[in-house]
Symmetry: C2
Subunit: 357 residues, 2 copies
């Protein structure tokens, strides 16, 4: 091989190594400094009476429930603030793990970016299903409806250009990401457990999805260790100062109400940077498609909320992804086909806010 | 600092680095080649009728459930056969993760020993709680009873020398490891899902706990990718050839029955190496303590089973841990205070059987 050929080969190898998304071999390893799991928060019920070990009945026994379950990983050379990832309605930790089509989700993506990652199952869900309240659960067929609400398309058709793989195995994995609540979702219970997590681990950045959006605001009100919030498609529970609560926003099949809290509590939300992202295929005007129309109302409410928080000195930004060039995102931008680009936006914001030291 | 002092300091640092259990810095890192999660197996219910996206009802919709949920990690330079870890009754993946007192469990221990680790939540449990059958769940206080059945002691007293930390936070974490079934445990459903996992990942070693013991034997009957089984305190479901099923063994509060299967199926269990471990504080003779007496019956049944499998050409070993010098183990030897020694026994057996290449 002459020198020119050798140089050419070297340049080829260099080009391969530098091609985004084609990292090979050891570049793909994740070095974990520490990983594990624990229960955070929760309560204990104590039955009256005396426990008899030889003739056990519920008398005198305890029941510990309503905690969150947390699995965490801290990479080598971790950045200062870890990320706490909180799933949405009917979901669990899977939201952030392997995507339905088998790619890496936010868990791995942000471990690679040297963030500690704490993923929770909220109280009464999944691995935190030791609920202190009774529940009856029925397997009600609902997947075609979620296909619409999660904005994959209008069953059985996908939206043009939707960032979701169209094979049946992907859809099979996606539907199996949903699990039931064991008893009602109790906002005080879930936010107490999330707050207990922040008390245990110290200052961290909260990343919420959908129904966890509103619970995330409330967790930040409860605990100053919430240093920032990244919220994907928050669904409900926007907290306004009492006296400044907007009228509910009408949407197909109902309306979206806001929540009033005392000004002293509200002000906590003006002290931290917050960014909100919504995906694509959200109608501009009222639509008779209940799958998408709710998201029009929520995006509108998020913008009203941004304006009120910022008026009181806050730092809230609302990004409608198509407006910044990311098209086709569903209700799950962090696991969509373009989730690296979605994560890049989040990384840039964390950098801008000096949250990635 | 003079040369002697410098040498002395260097030797001190060297000594610190070499003290067992005090590995510092990079020695404690786990290098992950790949990690993620997926649903394995399961079924789909389809409701009759036609789905209308604009007026959704359950008509024409599907429900995908009864799969196992699996979180896996493959370390760098992994050994040939990964470990599939299957929790016991009322438990989930937590069984194998951080111990109740905050040390590393089998997940980390065996990643460090270069095994791929697949941990499942069985169908209708935890993160696999999308059950195809209806369920009513009541939070019944039961923790003092489990304290006895899991052989920590006789409430409120711990057994002398029990391998379990006695602080309240440990017990709090321990009790929160229990979660409900969403609907009845269906052995065909759980073993079908476990078998689907082995079909997906290929040859692997199954590690079971307690109630998963019997389901583990059945999974090996169903799937030849089960290359070996390590079973901690199997509780029920010992499979004998029809015609060779022993009488039930009486125990306080009931009896322990064995299960008959056709000889052709049974013979699968003679083709793979199997090791069974039981912990300490199991009575030799019938006892009126229902917390411990069941384990006497199960240990006796395990030995009968060993003899029958081995008579037909199998390779089953039953280890009662106190007999090999490990004292004080509970129903959870793999998370007990001496779990490194317990893991060392397992590693030695895997090595003896050439399962750790």
């Amino acid at each position: 091989m002459n020198k020119t050929a050798l140089l050419s080969l070297s340049l080829s190898l260099l080009a391969m190594a530098c091609t985004p998304g084609r990292q090979a071999g050891n570049n793909r390893q994740i070095i974990i400094q520490e990983q594990g799991s624990f229960a955070a928060g929760g309560t204990v019920i104590k039955n009256p009476g005396t426990f008899d070990p030889c003739k056990p009945t519920p008398d005198g026994q305890t029941f510990s429930g309503d905690h969150a379950y947390v699995f965490y990983q801290v990479p080598a050379n971790a950045r200062k603030y870890p990320l706490v990832m909180w799933h949405g309605i009917g979901q669990f930790s899977k939201t952030w793990e392997t995507t339905p089509d088998g790619r890496e989700g936010y868990q791995n993506i942000f471990l690679r970016r040297r963030f500690g990652v704490y993923i929770l199952d909220q109280p009464r869900r999944g691995d935190a299903s030791r609920s202190t309240v009774a529940a009856t659960i029925n397997p009600t067929p609902d997947e075609q409806q979620w296909f619409g609400v999660f904005r994959l398309g209008i069953w059985p058709n996908y939206f043009d250009g939707v960032q979701f793989a169209r094979d049946t195995n992907t859809l099979n994995q996606y539907f199996r990401q949903m699990i039931p609540n064991i008893g009602p979702i109790d906002i005080a219970v879930t936010t107490d457990a999330a707050s207990a997590l922040f008390t245990k681990i110290g200052p961290a950045i909260l990343v919420t999805h959908s129904h966890a959006g509103g619970m995330g605001w409330l967790t930040a009100v409860k605990n100053q260790n919430v240093k920032a919030i990244v919220s994907y498609e928050p669904g409900s529970g926007f907290l306004f100062p009492e006296g400044e609560v907007p009228e509910p926003i009408a949407m197909t099949g109902g309306s979206l109400a806001a929540v009033g809290i005392p000004m002293a509590q509200f002000m906590a939300l003006t002290k931290i940077p917050i960014i909100i992202y919504y995906g694509d295929n959200i109608p501009d005007k009222p639509s008779d498609n209940p799958g998408t129309d709710g998201w029009r109302a929520r995006l509108e409410m998020a913008r009203r909320w941004r304006d009120v928080v910022n008026k009181h000195g806050g730092d809230v930004k609302v990004i409608h992804l198509p407006e910044v060039g990311l098209k086709g995102n569903t209700h799950f931008p962090f696991s969509d086909l373009n989730n690296i680009a979605v994560a890049d936006l989040m990384s840039a914001w964390l950098n801008e806010k000096k949250l990635d030291n």
